[in-house]
Symmetry: C2
Subunit: 227 residues, 2 copies
DNA sequence: TCTCATTGACTTACGATGTAAGTATGATAT
DNA sequence: ATATCATACTTACATCGTAAGTCAATGAGA
């Protein structure tokens, strides 16, 4: 009876804010953000719910930290690339990160205090544009347009019911045809049956089209502003 | 002792799905979506929580209905306008509706079954583009680009802490300068202090810039595709 | 080596939440 | 007057976030 309780257990890696946040992200990825509770997160970490409060002030701060962790996954614009390539890469990286964590978009829209990774990301984006000769005003335009597009696209992607496999697509098609009666929504009907549900269609591919539209437009505006 | 209980009360307007949804939207507008509960919504309607379940299947369906109600506020593209004007008007109307109900963006990203008003909106947008000579494929591009931008902008606007009044702005400025140390985030620092926090700046005005970027780009693509 | 402060995990408890199940009431139809 | 039916109310339960208090392990100073 050397020690009293809980002996012979695993040596117990101590918790940390980092570990808590990573576990929360993994949990939300698997089970959805709606079913993330402090108790279940504790369970996933082999710990009681209240222990988590030693590392995050409350659940809201946990959610803040999760969003920031997702932002930290986004590639910063590389100084080596020209601005267009740098923006394209970081946009695609952002889409990828938000695609891996579809719950992040919902969180972003309710949380108003950005974390350090988010701020670093924004700082790098602004720096990249400024270095490419964008005036402050035009940088604001570009930043707003690009980020709106990126987040909005991620939102639509998260919302779209289109599955990955062929069976999923078929099931979705069935549901859509039922919900979009040809007489009531003729254009939507044609659009989905003739295009979106056709075998080769991949909504993700739409991303680059809109992105290039914005990038080309920005380039044109920049060049016409400072000849 | 003619009747037994609850006599002499107001004649009691009966509940309806419509009335429940409208009350829910009003509640969320005033108190935020996070504090909307079935009990509080019932209270706002002078009714017990469980009575609401006679008109909505569960809370999720209530949220679905709320999103659809917001969509019903968005102006449909008018057939009389040329496509660009029609798209501009509906985009501005959408931004306005989402601005009035900032919680809607968060809901949109978690709800995958669009309601009738949402479908009607999409049908009208697709119809407007098709009528303007956009091919189905280009309509998909346009739809994706425009809606991504619109929702993303609304998301950013909902997230941005910038207040409306001068005092609010000052308070935000104070907070930002503290959180954005010049040495750590030099570009962000310059950007906020030199531009965003300057008296005349209004983030909402950025909307039209990006919108026109996309609309002009779409027009160019359409005209070069079918000469 | 012993002592003791500190850290971080555990226990208990409370009010609030979504909603299943059952009950009562008032309006309408016969 | 009676029966039917829609709709509101009551009760109950599992789960939630988290305040407050307890207890054990750790590391420093003597």
């Amino acid at each position: 009876m050397a020690t009293k309780t809980r002996t012979a257990k695993a040596p117990r890696i101590p918790l940390s804010r980092e570990r808590v946040l990573r576990a929360a992200v993994a949990f939300a990825d698997q089970n959805g953000i709606a079913s993330l509770s402090m108790r279940k997160l504790g369970e996933a970490l082999g710990v009681e719910a209240m222990s988590l409060y030693n590392h995050v002030a409350n659940k809201d701060q946990l959610l803040d930290g999760m969003v920031d962790l997702v932002f930290s996954e986004i590639e910063l614009p590389a100084g080596a690339d020209d601005w267009k390539m740098a923006m394209r890469k970081r946009a695609q990286s952002a889409r990828q990160a938000l695609g891996h964590h579809p719950w992040a978009i919902a969180l972003m829209s309710t949380r108003t205090s950005p974390g350090p990774a988010t701020l670093r990301h924004h700082d790098a984006v602004i720096g990249s544009l400024r270095a490419a000769g964008f005036s402050i005003g035009l940088t604001a335009h570009a930043f707003s347009a690009l980020d709106s597009y990126i987040y909005g696209f991620a939102l639509q992607e998260a919302t779209l019911p289109l599955g990955d496999t062929a069976e999923e697509t078929a099931a979705v098609a069935q549901m859509m045809v039922e919900r979009f009666p040809r007489e009531v929504f003729p254009h939507l009907y044609e659009f989905t049956t003739e295009h979106v549900l056709k075998p080769g269609y991949d909504y993700g591919a739409e991303f680059d089209f809109g992105l290039d539209l914005i990038l080309d437009g920005l380039e044109r505006v920049r060049d016409s502003a400072s000849p």
